[in-house]
C-alpha cells in the first residue's frame, strides 16, 4: 500500500455573513494516494470547490476560515502551518488549475512571465534556465510553438490553449498533488477530450496524484480511480469508480447517476431528484438529503447518519446501511 499524499479529516470550513458564521463544509473526509485520481463529485452548493480552496488555504479577500479538522499533506498538517510555510508548498508540491481558463491568467502579463514567476521562486533557477524550463513545460503539454507563445498575451490564445498553459504552470515544479477544479467545464467537448487525455498522460509520467473536482459524471467515469460524492458540505459516499457506477449505495448517488442522460440509452423519461439543494442558512436537521430522498425514514429527519464502512474501499453515510438498534420503519 502506497502512502497517502493527502488526507483530509473532519474538515469544517465556514464563511461569515453579517457577523454570523455560515458553515459550508460540515465534516469532509477523504484521502488520495500517490498517482491516484480521486474524483470529487457534487452539484452546485455541495462544497466541492470550497474543499479545494480549503486544502490550498486560498481564503484571501474572503471571510472563509477552516474551523475544524486537519489536512495532512505528505504527513504534515496544513492547518497548523503559517501562511509563509504554506506558500512554500503552494505551487511547488501542491498546484491547482481552475475552471475558467479565460480569466485565470493575468491579461496584461506575457505567458512566459507568468510561467517563470513560480519557477524562479520555487526552483530558484536563474532567468535563462527558468525560461528554458518554461518552454519545456509548454512543450510537454502539447504546445508546439512554445518559443513564440511565451512572448504572447493570454487573449491571443484560445480557451483550450490557455488551459494547457495553466496545466503547464501547475506542473512546472512537479507537484505531488494537482487539484483540478472543473478543469474542462468551460471547454468544448472535443477540446475537453484533449485536456483530459493530457492530464492522464502527465499523471502517468509524473506519478502526480490528482484531485479532480467536477459535476460531470461522464468525466468521473473516464478519469478517476476513486470517487467521493459530496452533498451539502458533506461526503455522502466514497467508493472505487467501478463499484460506484455498478452499484451506487447512497440514494443521492443513485439519483444522480440515474438522472444523467446517456448516449444509447432508450429511456423516455429520465429519473430525477425532486426539490433542490438546501441553502447553508436553512439546512435541515438530521440527514441533509432527507427532504429530497425517496427512501426517507423518520430517523433521517432527526439525526445525522453515521458513516458506515461497507467494504474496505467503500463508505456511505446513510441510515439505510447503519446497524443501529433504532426502529427503522421503512
Amino acid at each position: 500500500m502506497t502512502e497517502h499524499v493527502l488526507r483530509v479529516s473532519d474538515l469544517e470550513t465556514s464563511f461569515m455573513r453579517d457577523k454570523t458564521e455560515i458553515k459550508i463544509l460540515r465534516g469532509v473526509n477523504f484521502s488520495i494516494r500517490k498517482g491516484e485520481i480521486l474524483g470529487l463529485v457534487g452539484e452546485s452548493g455541495s462544497g466541492k470547490s470550497l474543499t479545494s480552496l480549503s486544502i490550498m488555504q486560498l481564503f484571501h479577500g474572503t471571510t472563509g476560515k477552516i474551523v475544524k479538522g486537519s489536512i495532512y499533506f505528505n504527513g504534515e498538517d496544513l492547518t497548523k502551518m503559517s501562511e509563509s510555510e504554506i506558500r512554500k508548498i503552494r505551487g511547488k508540491q501542491m498546484a491547482m488549475i481552475f475552471q475558467e481558463p479565460m480569466t485565470s491568467l493575468n491579461p496584461v502579463l506575457k505567458i512566459g512571465k507568468q510561467l517563470m514567476e513560480a519557477i524562479e521562486m520555487h526552483l530558484k533557477l536563474p532567468k535563462s534556465e527558468s525560461k528554458h524550463h518554461a518552454i519545456q513545460m509548454l512543450k510537454s503539454v502539447g504546445i508546439g510553438r512554445a518559443e513564440e507563445i511565451i512572448h504572447e498575451y493570454p487573449h491571443q490564445l484560445s480557451g483550450g490553449m490557455r488551459q494547457r498553459v495553466m496545466i503547464a504552470m501547475a506542473m512546472a515544479c512537479h507537484p505531488n498533488l494537482l487539484i483540478a477544479d472543473e478543469p474542462t467545464t468551460a471547454l468544448d467537448v472535443t477540446i475537453q477530450a484533449q485536456i483530459l487525455e493530457l492530464m492522464k498522460k502527465l499523471k502517468e509520467e509524473n506519478e502526480t496524484a490528482i484531485l479532480l473536482i467536477t459535476h460531470d459524471l461522464g468525466v468521473v467515469a473516464e478519469m478517476c480511480d476513486k470517487v467521493v460524492v459530496m452533498y451539502a458540505g458533506q461526503v455522502v459516499e466514497e467508493a472505487d469508480v467501478f463499484e460506484l457506477f455498478a452499484s451506487p449505495k447512497h440514494p443521492y448517488t443513485k439519483g444522480l447517476i440515474a438522472s444523467v442522460p446517456k448516449i444509447g440509452d432508450k429511456k423516455e423519461v429520465l429519473d430525477s431528484i425532486n426539490g433542490h439543494v438546501p441553502s447553508p442558512q436553512n439546512m435541515p436537521k438530521g440527514c441533509k438529503f432527507a427532504p429530497r430522498c425517496n427512501q426517507v425514514m423518520s430517523i433521517c429527519q432527526e439525526e445525522s447518519p453515521p458513516t458506515v464502512e461497507i467494504s474496505a474501499t467503500r463508505q456511505c453515510s446513510c441510515w439505510l446501511y447503519a446497524k443501529k438498534d433504532v426502529e427503522v420503519n421503512a
Partner: protein, 307 residues
Amino acid sequence: MWKYTARRIVEMIPILIVISILTFLFIHLIPGDPARLVAGKDATIEDVENVRHELGLDKPILKQYVDYMKNLMTGELGTSLTTGLPVIDMFKTRFMPSLHLTFLSMLWATLIGLMIGVFSAINKNKWPDYFGMVTAVSGISIPGFWLGLLLIQLFSVQLGLFPTGGLDGFSSYILPSLTLGAGIMSMIARFTRSSMLETLQADFIRTGRAKGLKEHSVIVTHALRNSLISVVTVAGLQFGFLLGGSVVVETVFSFPGMGRLLIDSIAFRDYPVIQSALLLFAFEFILVNLIVDVLYTVLNPKIQLDS
C-alpha cells in the same frame, strides 16, 4: 501604437473644428450687440461702429470665420481690448506658470492618490482604509477656494512659510499646487481603491496565490499593474477638473496664469482674450486626453493588438 496615435489625431480634427467654430461664435452668441457691449453704455454710434470694424464684426460671418481660422493657423489671436497688446504675447507670459502649476499638481496628486488607494485597498475595512477614505471624501468635498484661503491663513499669515500669492520662485507654487491637487488626489485615491478591490477579486489573482507567490508580488505585479490601466484613464479625465480648478486657485493666490487672465478678461469683457483662452484650455485638455489614450494602449496589451 504609432498607427493608433495617428488615428486618434485624425479623429480629433472634427472635434477641434467644432470647438473652433464654437469659440468663434462666442462673440456672436452674446445677447445684444457685442460692439455696443464692448464700447460701453456711453459710446456714440460712431464709437460703436469703430469697435465693430475693429473686431471685424462688419464683415459677412463666413468671411469672419475664414479670417479667424487663417489667423489661428498663423498664431495671430487678435489684440486685447484692454491692454492693446497682441493676445499671443499676453499668453506667452501666462501660459508656462499655469502649465507648471497644473503639472506639478497632477504629479503629486497622482502619486499620493495611488499610494492612498492601494494602501486602503489592501487594508480594506481596517483603520488605514478608513483614514484614507475619510481623507479622500473630504478632499473631493472641500471647495478649492476655501482650502486655498485656509492654507494662506495658516502657512503664510500665521507661520509665514510661503508667500500669500503672486509668483516669485518655486515656493510660490507650493500652496496653489496643494490646493489644486487636493481634489484630484482624492478622486484618484478613491478610484484606485475600488479598482484594486475589483482586481483583487479576479481569478488570475487566485492563480497567482495558488502559485505560491508572496503577497506583495501578487499585489504589485498582478493587481496594481491591471488597476493602473483604468486609473490612468480616470486621471486623464480628471485633468479637466484641474484646468477648471486652476482658474479658481489662480484667483485665490493672485497667481499670474491663464486662469487669472481669463477671469480678469471676463470682468473687462475683453472678448478676444476670452475667446482665445477658452480655445487654448480646450486644446490643452484634448491633448492630455490624447496622451492618456496612447498611454492606455501602452499599458493594455489587448488594445495594442486590436488597433
